[in-house]
Amino acid sequence: MTQPSVSMPKTLPASAQAKSADAGETVIHIEDVTYRYPSTTNAPTSSQAAMVLPALRGVSLDVQPGEYVALLGHNGSGKSTLARLINALLLPTSGRVMVLGHDTSDRSEHRAIRDLVGMIFSDPDNQIVATIVEDDVAWGLAARGYPLAEVRARADAALATVGLSAHRHRAPSELSGGQRQRLAIAGALALEPACLIADEPMALLDPQARVDMAALLHRLNRERGLTVIHVTHQLEEAARADRVVILEQGRIVRQGTPAEVFAELDRLRQLRLIIPDLGVLGERLRRLGVAIPPDALTPELFVSALERLKRLERRGGAQ
């Protein structure tokens, strides 16, 4: 991502602003939602449990503007189902999902909701529709009938933001997996959403592309104030989130800052999550009396924690 980012208007579409004023500060308001798949074949993971239990049971969650929320859970825990309820791909069996004041149960609101909530999945090829990169980004705008000049301007800005301007005339199939995922994000950004849902966005990427993708999502969140809901089963992807929400068998079982949630690794093991090696190392060091914070799950965070400890030790020695 060497491309400079071009600033895009941070304001929400007018309709959304009007609605958001009524609904207070919350971007996403999920109220006591239960969801049962009509038949297991429609479930994102068709596990046995899905046949018996509803995919979601009594889930309530509020997401604030500019928040980076990681939805964490193992396969079949309900995290993808929850993500799909937010932009009205699924409708709750009971309970309510509100997006900036728009109720997803009202079909006439779906268009507004999908403009406000962009979504990307593990496999970008599922949402790339055009044969030329810039056409793909423009597609959503053109389909909504925006004037050509605005389609151009917004597509250009979105491509610049994700660092694909140089590839605008290429075919998406010639791009790497990481570039295609960035193209999918550009397509979502072109609609200037208030919230981006990324459902396991790094599952198919190679390690460097994962690092780049994490950097892009956090940059969009920090610089644009874009609300990000990042669905993942990997703790390290959630380490820099503002809030981690853990789902298990369709319920929210734990939430808090990464430092709070990751302090109880044994609990996370029970929830069938993979504890990264750095998490295990931190746990061992804490037992040896070294105060590594539980959310130091990336090499950068871990080494800066070590540096802090080293400085403390020097200061301690000088006294």
């Binding site: 198919l204 993979i274 070294v290």
Partner: protein, 301 residues
Amino acid sequence: MSIVVEHLNHAYNAGAPHEHVALRDISLTIPDGVCAAIIGVTGSGKSTLVQHFNGLLIPTSGRIIIDGLDVTAKTTRPEHLLELRRRVGLLFQFPEAQLFAPTIADDVAFGPRRLRLKDKVVKERVRWALNAVALPTDATFLARSPFALSGGQQRRVALAGVLAMRPLTLVLDEPSAGLDAEARDEIYACLSDLRAHEGITLALVSHDMSEVAHLADMLFALADGELKLSGPPAQVFQKTDKIQACGLLPPPLAQTVALAREHGLPITTASDALLTPARLAPAIVATLGAPGLNGHGKEST
């Protein structure tokens, strides 16, 4: 079953204006019974390489000798390739996408039936293969649809379908991609058992350095169609710069040690042993000074 690759070159559309050289002068040996991992970024040539292991691709020049079967551009005959594909099983990425039969039994039996084996033998193989991937073999389970299983179970059914061909070597492309902890550990357990009990040689294509560290005895790192690094994981992971030059990231623990060194925190580790949290913790304590230095680190059990 050993795999010997000698000066292998592979070009797609050789001789055409849009010729693309995918592999250049690759030489490597995977001894019998070993688990070798082929690592590299997208486009580095690793999938092209492993597709030579069962004759899906034939070298443009150079050769590959699989269990004594010599595959070169000139000598290869169809019957040769058939034999090769019996000996070498290939599990593609996301193999559950290839499940197709109405029942689990039919899906796993598809390969052996094409070998025109007797029904009784096919049934035995299906049972053996499902057993090898730790799935039930009772009649109720066999009659179920593979599509009603969880993602991890579906992947193991797909693996059973390859195993039912009784291969001597198994080539796996990203076997744990997209699986959760439990499903991943189940796949790892199956692969370890197959090596231990059947002596199957494994060639693994992977992006996941933790997976590679866990399973592989030898690593081969490809970049731009060339072999850049090879050796046991503990050695290869020490060469942080060279791994990064291949566009790969070393496992997080190795990255952390290298980054700490850059920041003036020299953590001393053994050069021949794979980094583990258990090995690294005392080394970090030594680097920071005496334990208990911070006063607010809680001592737990």
